[in-house]
Amino acid sequence: MAKKHSVKVVMDSEGIDRCLTRIAYEILEKNKGMDGLVIVGIRTGGIYLAQRLQKKISAIEGREIPMGILDITLYRDDIAKATQKPSPGKTQIPFDLTEKKVVLVDDVLFTGRTIRAAMDALIDFGRPKMIQLAVLIDRGHRELPIRADYVGKNLPSSLWEAVSVNLMEKNGKDEVTIEEDH
């Protein structure tokens, strides 16, 4: 049976940029500036968003906010049983996390399992004062008690829909789409 696809653009380039600008200000507002604040992007979807947030915050504050990359493959709760092992990427956190306020950045918040793994991984690097979560899209369907502190857009979706965040750095265009599989 042939599948019928319908792809809907839910956020364009300007929309993404506006969201990130707002999140940058929200982060600074909530944390009363950037003292003790660091950004950590989750590989791979969160890296470029973290970089953009880093740029925006640094520009606003006039000095560089530290940024790291976290690979959570080895912390996944399904990894031991996986027959085909995904290739782990490198984690690069070139600063001490102790007593830092960490803003985790990812593209889509879905079941929450990635964030659970990311928090475990972060804690292995030190004891942060606080962990906050920033995501571009929250599509619901949580399987764990996890909630984002900063959300670009809430996008109610069905389980059989695929939400894709395309970014210039990765796919050559900025665009969030939702794809339905009938």
């Binding site: 912390y75 990894i79 031991a80 092992k85 290739s87 782990p88 990427g89 292995d124 030190g126």
Partner: protein
Amino acid sequence: MTKLTKKDILGMADLTVDEIHLILETAESFLEISTRDIKKVPTLRGKSIINLFYEASTRTRTSFEIAGKRLSADTINISASTSSVVKGETLIDTARNLEAMNPDIIVLRHSAAGAPHLLAGLVRQSIINAGDGAHEHPSQALLDMMTIREKKGRIAGLKIALVGDIQHSRVARSNIYGLNKMGARVVVAGPATMMPRDIEKMGVEAFTRIEDAIVDADVVMMLRIQLERQKQNLFPSLREYAQRYCLNRTNFKLAKSDAIVMHPGPINRGVEISPDIADDSGFSVILDQVANGVAVRMALLYLLSGGNE
């Protein structure tokens, strides 16, 4: 993405170029874990790894043990002496007993070539060959290749010289297989008494003078000489062996100016490598090999685990 479909890692002879790439790339991403304060990830929580060592080996066993522990697996070390095995329980019985305890991976070191192949055919667990007689030592070759790639950025096109007791060296055989597959030019040198017959058919050039092998080499890999070989008249004395085959400042000048020096350890200082060469971090990468060894073994354990379905 390539995946590792093999149940066992028995030798470099059986690994494809894609599989070698996958293992090395996985190992490279594991390297960072060992630099953390908390050198442990929960990946293989609940998995059990048995290190079944029929030959004394602090180095390899410790490396596999650390690798397993850094992935949160339970590692169990069993040391058995081969002599008691000949008299008592056979490898097959030992293996069946271990299998009944349901570990996930068995790492086997054995003095008899082919022992891991025997075991692999009998038990459902993954077997990693941690050295079988003079046959293969794949994790050593992989860590050597990882080190070469780290220092030289590539393997293809490099001239790599292996010097010493080729005949009895599983490290040599595994490296010849692996490096040839990755496109290196491999040359070997050692006393004619320790040069196995038809070695050229493995795709290497063979010399009896160390100088002929290391000229223009990018990598010089010195092999360990077992001191008891002297009793078999494979060389007249350590003194003469050292005079002819020890890597020193003089003969090392023949290699490329940016050549690196490797050794699988443990080193007989002044016999295989002069101390000033071994300790010169300008070109000696011997300690990098040890660090990479843990990462490579983590990669092997990671890639092999969980494939029992």
